[in-house]
Symmetry: C2
Subunit: 581 residues, 2 copies
């Protein structure tokens, strides 16, 4: 089966792979000018990463990941190609983080393993980063430096002032980078919430001050540029959630994004008010809540929190269960509870399941599948249908907030960030219509914007792109197991388990079959054993799971990955194929 495949030719040198692209920058870079070089997030959602260069000094704002498009089956995450930073590794001074969401910090392990530079972030952001780096065994060697809103830090020719903004996560900042040619203001993700549940409102005054000082260039979040008006504050969900807590006749399962600390605080406050104990279920919710408690963002009254094992000790109407899995992720606690396969989270008739979240585009079918499972258990499912009062608010500013920021800081130049091409374009139109910026520039990944006090011009392109990563959660040794490029396919290949499932009965028909490509499978014993793994995974799943192909595929993938890594020291890309008959 180990035929000569195309993958031998793939794992060529990165420089050679990218040889089709121009690289003017080293030639065109006059040392007295500033360059802005987006490496990710401009022309796509996710993997935000932007380099600022002045002479021989580079700082990087954010190091995010994105989740792969459906065409890239078998890939866990996607991170930006950082060839530009690697080529200039002697110049990179620091990575600065605006906040702790995955699309801003998720690429850090990948980048730090290539380029170990100091990382700056606020206390809460760094707590997330620590967990992530620890998981990847990169923490001991990392140099993490805390940012405090309102306190400047100097890094080479840059002096960076973090300014408090509000967002769905806590402890978020915009970064005002003072450079020799002027101030570059990067908003990060923000909305203008003046009554934030954590008591730290958006710092309007600081932005007004910047406006007085004069901002050379504003880089602003484009996510909600299509939405008219203002985004409601985080507290706007309280009235409806209060009603739901009051009305739930039995257990209340409350699901929100695990990083929604504000939302978890509101849920805990309401649970306390309505005499319900709170149990936390799901690794990501657990982890976030622990960090938030350590740092004082969550201060549940003594006795409010119980262990999942104690759920059985309380009457159903005395329980609120914070559970992860709003996006229908097949292995999440909520998805497993929905198919009656979670030890502690049992969905009984009359329970209420509240999805205090939005649907991220692309996840509709997975979410509706979970809702259908929940309804079959006779749970009442409440999701955001826009009709009955707010149960979720966006963390990103709408058009009026974007206009307000532009009017507050009055930038000379304007560059939209964070968005697909169409968002950047509409943001350009919005900014132009304010009449404030002298010039608006639609910059895309890899394009170099060169600035001095009076000019902003595109002057070239650098290599950018997406790197696909199989983010093995059972990592053991760094640099070997943790992060790997698709190029390693040349060594590790492609592994396709093929399973035929009878839709009518949910039974597997015949034996699973395994096809490989570029995988060193000269050992027929190994393939037989891998097949047995698939059979065992199928046998250990219940009927409902077997009919939910998303779940089945994820389980097969996880089990095979573990098996192949242990028994063959290989990490092929694993793509289960289900044939429904």
């Amino acid at each position: 089966m180990n035929l000569p495949g195309p993958f031998r030719t793939i794992s060529t040198d990165r420089a050679e792979v990218a040889s089709g692209r121009l690289r003017y920058t080293d030639i065109l870079m006059p040392s007295e000018k500033l360059q802005l070089i987006p490496l990710g997030g401009l022309g796509e959602f996710g993997m935000n990463c932007l380099a600022l260069r002045y002479g021989d000094d580079i700082i990087v704002i954010d190091a995010g990941l994105m989740f792969p498009e459906e065409e890239l089956l078998g890939v866990d995450i996607v991170v930006p190609d950082i060839s530009y930073l690697i080529e200039n590794r002697d110049k990179v001074r620091a990575i600065l983080l605006t906040h702790g969401h995955e699309d801003h910090i998720g690429g850090l392990p990948w980048i730090l393993s290539e380029l170990n530079v100091p990382v700056y972030g606020t206390e809460f952001t760094l707590a997330y980063v620590e967990g992530k780096l620890d998981e990847h065994r990169l923490l001991d060697d990392a140099d993490l430096i805390e940012l405090q809103p309102g306190r400047r830090v100097t890094i080479g020719p840059f002096s960076v002032m973090p300014i408090r903004v509000t967002h769905s996560l806590v402890d978020c900042v915009a970064l005002a980078v003072h450079t020799p040619v002027g101030i570059v203001l990067h908003t990060g993700d923000f909305k203008i919430d003046l009554s934030s549940p954590d008591g730290h409102p958006f710092d309007l005054q600081a932005f007004a001050d910047l406006g007085k000082q004069g901002v050379l260039c504003l880089l602003q979040d484009s996510t909600n540029v299509d939405r008219p008006g203002f985004t409601p504050g985080e507290k706007a969900v309280i009235p409806r959630l209060d009603d739901i807590f009051a009305a739930a006749p039995r257990k209340l399962f409350f699901s929100c994004f695990s990083s929604s600390i504000h939302r978890m605080k509101i849920a805990m406050d309401l649970a306390h008010k309505h005499g319900r104990k709170v149990a936390l279920i799901g690794r990501s919710i657990d982890n976030s809540a622990e960090i938030a408690q350590d740092l004082g963002y969550l201060e549940p009254p003594p006795g409010l929190l119980i262990n999942p094992g104690q759920i059985r000790d309380y009457a159903p109407n005395q329980l609120c269960i914070l559970i992860s899995g709003t996006q229908g992720e097949p292995m999440s606690a909520l998805s497993r509870a929905a198919v009656d396969n979670h030890k502690h989270a049992k969905i009984d008739p009359g329970d209420t399941v509240l999805l205090s979240s939005r649907i991220i585009p692309g996840n509709e079918k997975a979410i509706y599948r979970v809702i259908d499972h929940l309804e079959r258990r006779d749970a009442r499912v409440i999701s955001d249908d826009g009709t009955n009062g707010l149960i979720h608010v966006s963390g990103h500013g709408s058009q009026e907030e974007l206009r307000m920021m532009i009017n507050l800081v009055r930038p000379k130049f304007f560059v939209p960030v964070h968005g697909d091409y169409r968002h950047l374009k509409r943001h350009i139109e919005l900014a132009k219509a304010t009449g404030v910026p002298e010039k608006v520039i639609l910059l895309e990944d890899g394009e170099v914007l060169t600035l001095d006090k009076d000019h902003a011009e595109k002057t070239g392109k650098v290599t950018t792109g997406r790197v696909c990563i199989d983010n093995n959660s059972t990592a053991d040794v760094v640099g070997d197991t943790v992060i790997r490029d698709r190029k390693h396919l040349g060594a590790d290949g492609l592994f396709l388990p093929i399973i035929a499932i009878n839709r009518a009965t949910g039974e597997v028909e015949g034996m699973p079959e395994i096809t490989t490509r570029g995988f060193a499978a000269d050992d027929p014993e190994l393939l037989r054993n891998a097949r047995d793994i698939v059979v065992r995974t199928l046998e250990s799943s219940n009927d409902v799971e077997r009919r939910d192909y998303g779940v089945i595929k994820d389980k097969i993938r996880a089990d095979l990955k573990r098996f192949l890594q242990k028994n063959a020291n290989r990490r092929p890309m694993i793509m289960p194929i289900i044939l429904e008959i």
Copy 2:
């Protein structure tokens, strides 16, 4: 490469495959009772199909298809398992169609090729059916009988009265089936539109009459059960569309569902008003418009329509181009125009592209990708963002319309149809809350509801399920080529072309590789040639297409399918795999 795969064991007898299921029905069927047996559409969206049985007579309402979930890559369409009808083939008297949408008629070729019975439908519905059957070479043998609203037809013990309803398509009916135990009313898809653009409003009086006669059981469309209020009428889009026609500075591309005859009429009327010629682009739009013109639903004034080839003869602001592809389908005219690969549809800077449609869940990413391509060509894209006036309305009734129907016809029993489990469940709650039906029944596919004048009980189950079909559009001989079950994989197998694409450069790395399973590929020459086909397909695509994996996969699939059918007389399932490096 032709290893013994699991598929040998798959193509067993259908009865054996389904042996795990109960079949009480023949035992429990007393001849004086009526049975309702949903074969599709109850517990899922799409493939609507419902059997009514009284003694030895069966009629079937609708014969739809559904589009596959993403897990079922490589499958074109899914149709209901009609084992029950085949087992009772001597009893099946007719198929009656409520309207011409694919989820109501798309399974007809499959069913008629197994079971050639008369098909009843309105004039417009039958025109769609004719085209479909002709394409599958089934038309000559088909017995198509026209239904007219208000005119009863008798089929065995059933007397069926079609009643005019309104929907996004024209010439739609509900079916009031008079049976020896009482009237069963099947609404079909409907909303209550009292100023339909075609001059045929919803027939309120007929439903009120039925209410007076007494309805035993109402089967009602659940699609919009989550929406409060009333669904706006089709004409509600005119004011905003009028503004858009007036304001478009250059060419106006107008994209809507090809079956939206009302919408096409409105577009043509507005084009005429604003002095624009209309060109039709796209096979499905062309086909629909032709039928609608033949039957008098579209009556464009002389000279309004031009051929696509004449587009160049007019100034941009004198043009309106009706184009198919609102869902981002990779091979649609709009998708191809967006990547500058359509002969007649050229998107120039300043053109307007209007998507007068909704996003069908699951298509978000494909649609946003097309919008991004259009924005890069500097077109202004207008899609339904819910903020600036209606450019699309649903064809399904909202909660108030569902309540109104129940109050008009006052059924003794109520069964929701057309929806996922959660829709059926909410519809049950809505119906119960009206206080009208004596009993509400949540029926799912395969469950048998047995009715007499006073009772409605579930009495058993029949085999149901989904059958996956590779719907080859280049069919030549019926019964051999047209429609095939996944089970044929045992003969035709699985064909996986694997292509590595460099994301940064858009170039293909190395040669495509082809993996097969259960495919009789003892001819290495054939595989080499197939590989050449893939190479040619890649070479003939432009850069933009090569970076859009949806497009690339569809093109490779189409070309390989044609090649394999012609050269090997095989129709394996083809699943291109793209590895991004």
